[in-house]
Symmetry: C2
Subunit: 317 residues, 2 copies
């Protein structure tokens, strides 16, 4: 039996056929065309899946289930995307749309939770019963696995770990509060800190790295500057990692997981991030004077996390 | 069958025989004598339980289990209190001590978790699968119930909800970090805020309420002053409840429980606390513009929480 995962992103729809071990045996993708009507986008999702099955020589008897990962809020039980602000989806019944074409169980889950599932089943959290996967991008997504089950709270909206206020009256967050972790450690926060530091320090290498135009600063710029020994870049990264460490210490005090997996763009920094991060956390977790005992690692599933996580939704239900 | 619960506190040891519905059918207590050797204290705990059973005409055949609730850190599996800073307990094997006298299963659990169990089984969270119980005293204890099971993380040390940093570089916390929620909303934090406000405002009624001696300020003083219409007291309480609301909004964003139960001294304020607290949380929980959808209530179990919660540890294991 095979599992199919569909990763509905703002730019691409990716789908894959996944074997029981979490290996993608065949995958394909198509442009989302995010400004189109939801019906058209959903039709393309179905077509992508049906074409994949045909190419692989599989029928619905070979498919255990189809899982769809999507940002936004969902009615999991009825397979409805309630709201997805990237795609103008409102109350889109994706389960019904799929089941017109193929008679297998359809699952729907938040994309950050899919990333956590993928890391748990086949990636950096494999073999651990309790894991927290943090995906850093435009926002911060959290996915919490407890006893090998996805934890989402009583209404399915839990684990919004980016929206823990860590600095009352701090930076504004897109959610309407002030001082959420996301406002500091997601890409826009890091870009804003890099920009502010560059403005104050005209001799910083950040100016060269962005070709003299601060609008070109991205979430990598400060890391690149720090790598070149630029003091301004190093200070930005030191502060960034300091706040990151406080937030992860909070998460450990809350969940005491076996492992925290960090995914998204910043995770590509690997040990450049992890080593100072753990050092910043020394003595910060409750009752522990040393480095955190929870493992802190980077994600392993990369771009496949969305497909594999969506495919394996039923495994962690 | 009956359950026995023992609440090992810094001042008193309380024990009770609890029926299946969570009703205490017989209870007794004795002074802890916290400066004594742990062997003597444990001996008194055993004696208290054996006397209770004798008085109630019960033998070990009538007892399903004995549960012990205690602050500090525990090796639950082996029934060992690893560390309890109030009592100078270090590696005290309480299970072994009890089983010398009575052959029933012995359970050991953190006292904040016992409070959560008691509220879940017989109190304010009864009938809800997901609850978070916050006990406010000298510190802040958290107890999290997920799917009617106590959640404690992979190492049993999870749910230290008082040690979520909500104000980076804020007030010092006893845990060694700065800005933990506990530093603001536990009794010592409120007392310190009340004192500071009184020092700045010589005309505040706080001075009368503490008999002109600011050392007499307790966690109730600012509430009492606010009740009298004292502006300084009202400001202290408004700020206090503001921070409390931020912390609870964090907890909802993390756990999305059915209900949050607030216990400990401050919970006696009832609606004086709850009504403004919910109002402060308006629009603060993720994706919700109005008042929180999670119920926020005060604890119902009072002083019996320790006994009932300890007795029912196995029910939520």
């Amino acid at each position: 039996m095979y599992y199919i995962g569909v990763d509905l992103g703002g730019t691409n729809i990716a789908a894959g056929i996944v074997d029981d071990a979490g290996k993608i045996v065949k995958k394909a993708s198509t442009k989302t065309g995010r400004n189109r009507k939801s019906e058209e986008i959903v039709k393309d999702m179905c077509r992508l899946v049906l074409d994949l099955m045909k190419d692989a020589g599989l029928t619905e008897k070979d498919i255990y289930s189809i899982g769809i990962g999507s940002p936004g809020s969902h009615d999991r039980e009825n397979g409805i995307i309630l709201y997805n602000n990237n795609l103008n989806f409102k109350n889109v019944n994706i389960k019904e749309a799929f089941q017109k074409h193929i008679d297998v169980p359809i699952y729907l889950e938040n994309d950050a939770n899919c990333a956590a599932i993928a890391e748990n089943v086949a990636g950096a959290a494999k073999g651990y019963e309790h894991s927290v996967t943090i995906t850093i991008g435009t926002g911060i997504g959290g996915g919490v696995i407890i006893n090998n089950k996805l934890f989402t709270g009583t209404n399915g909206m839990g684990a919004e770990l980016g929206h823990i206020v860590i600095d009352i009256d701090g930076e504004y967050c897109t959610c309407g509060r002030k001082g959420c972790w996301e406002a500091y450690s997601a890409a826009p926060g890091l870009i804003s800190q890099t920009r502010k530091a560059a403005e104050k320090n005209p001799d910083s290498k950040i100016h060269e790295l962005c070709g003299g135009n601060l609008d070109n600063i991205d979430a990598k710029t400060a890391f690149d500057a720090a790598r070149l020994g630029d003091k301004t870049g190093m200070k930005v990264i030191d502060d960034y990692i300091g706040i990151f460490g406080e937030a992860l210490a909070n998460i450990i005090n809350i969940f005491q997981p076996d492992v925290i997996v960090i995914g998204g763009g910043v995770s590509k920094e690997g040990d450049n991030l992890l080593i100072p991060l753990k050092e910043k956390m020394r003595g910060k977790t409750y009752g522990n004077e040393g480095l955190p005992t929870t493992l802190i690692v980077v994600a392993q599933m990369g771009n496949d996390a969305g497909i594999v996580g969506a495919a394996f939704i039923p495994k962690l239900n």
